[in-house]
Symmetry: C2
Subunit: 303 residues, 2 copies
């Protein structure tokens, strides 16, 4: 049985909402968890919600320190070895846990993943990967924010990571890859996109070419590749519009791709980075996501 490590002290509403979400996952989904954080604080929260939590497959691993949202990521990871984040990531590195979730300082989570777990071979920069909603099914999108500045080779590698994920996890044969651009014609795009286009059209992948946001919603491609800055704008614009939209079909389309976090593809173990504003329900979703070996179920809920 997979055990999920949770950074209980990371997030705008940590530790309370994180711990509450973890407890809910154990009780509702029966997923064994290890909560990394201040033992006294975490125990008090668990006791306040359900004093019978001791009988559940839930373990607290004491870590006296916490990394703050404003801490400098690399410095914090190096100097706070016994922080909740570093402890949780180390537990995955050492094989005690199978995946780690943090809603804390995302730069620090990235840094911890890189330093402790390490990159996959041939990958220079890991990418935050998630699902963008679509009319018939969701689309795998990366990078959604880990790398605000990218080189063409990074986008090329994101395509490789996305294709692998689409095949292995989503069971899509020969997935179609699109490159986010400001126009669908070849030759459109920033200098970065134009150079990445050349690499992708000569690669051994099923390359569609440039895509615009409407093409993504219309499911022209299975995987969309972009730098972390524009990917973040893309994702957050979809989310913001859906949040203000009274159309229940569209809202449910967006709700159904909510995984409570994005997967950091390109590192050797499963690392999920949740939004800083995560509430208990987001942690429940993130835990479910972390235990998944297939996304076909999600895809089947569409269309």
């Amino acid at each position: 049985v997979a055990v999920i490590a949770i950074d209980a002290m990371g997030g705008d509403f940590a530790p309370r909402e994180i711990v509450a979400g973890g407890l809910c996952s154990v009780k509702e989904d029966g997923i064994p968890l290890a909560l990394f954080g201040n033992e006294k604080t975490v125990t008090e929260i668990l006791n306040s919600i359900d004093p019978a939590w001791h009988s559940l497959p839930l373990k607290i691993v004491h870590m006296p320190l916490a990394i703050g949202m404003g801490d400098e990521p690399v410095q914090a990871v190096k100097s706070k070895q016994n922080s909740s984040l570093v402890g949780a990531v180390a537990s995955v590195r050492d094989g005690f846990c199978d995946a780690v979730i943090s809603a804390g300082n995302s730069g620090a989570a990235m840094a911890a993943a890189l330093f402790l777990i390490g990159r996959e071979e041939g990958i220079d920069r890991p990418a935050l990967t998630g699902l963008i909603p679509g009319v018939h099914k969701p689309t795998i999108a990366l990078d959604l924010g880990a790398n605000a500045d990218c080189k063409p080779i990074n986008l090329f590698q994101f395509a490789q990571l996305g294709v692998k994920y689409a095949k292995d996890v989503c069971k899509i044969d020969n997935p179609i890859v699109g490159l986010l651009s400001n126009g669908e014609e070849k030759g459109k795009g920033s200098l970065l996109v134009k150079e990445a286009f050349k690499l992708l059209e000569n690669a051994q992948i099923n390359f569609f070419g440039n895509v615009e946001p409407l093409h993504i919603l219309e499911n022209k491609v299975d995987v969309v590749v972009c730098d972390g800055f524009s990917g973040n704008v893309l994702l957050k614009t979809f989310e913001a519009t859906a949040a203000l939209c009274g159309d229940s079909k569209m809202r449910s389309m967006f709700e159904s791709v909510k995984h409570g976090g994005a997967l950091l593809l390109g590192v050797k173990k499963r690392v999920i980075i949740s939004h800083g504003s995560s509430r208990a329900i987001d942690i429940v979703r993130a835990v479910r996501f972390a235990t998944k070996t297939s996304c076909t179920k999600d895809l089947a809920t569409f269309g």
Copy 2:
């Protein structure tokens, strides 16, 4: 009375939809127009729609050539002096017309505006400017696609152009400027955004800081500044979501900011670049937009 020049041969559905839209503008809104294009072709279209068009304030200016969507912009503008686009832009330069609209090759329209009309003093790169919808009122956004690659100084100048437009046309006192980023905290963003942030926080403008898409929808700022690549992703994601959204309130929110084109700010005359896929209704909107000296009416339709 202002006369609007229209590039009748530019656009995916030119000349028919462009000419039909122009005719509709003259008849419904009484706006005098000059249609630049092949006289025989344009005359035939006008005759087929309304043989009585001769009595309207509508003039055909014969231009034998047309610039295609695939033509190299700078080369096309230089070599096709008697094209519909160059003729229309020249008429504005020479004072015969007050504004020009083209739905053709947007790079060529940019190039013609730069070469024939010229930039405003202190502006290195003009920016495509439009309105992004919001809960209470629309937000002025630039650049929406003219410059896929920008330097920090370009974003700084876009802020100046946006503030001037907000004050002069939209009658907003001391407009609030936001910088599109992948996080609201200072220090978030690409290298470009981080450098632009420094310039903007030290400028004599009402600078809000970084903004995310939800902040724009929530009207935290009056003007949002971005590079043309991410601005294009922002705009097209809003449009794509709205297009698929069954929520009538949201659809009308998006409909009401449709101007049939974006204004090229930073050149000395009024140039409106419409989408290549423009239909007659889009040209009618673009003509209305071109004659506007105030956007307060649009703003008043909100909230």
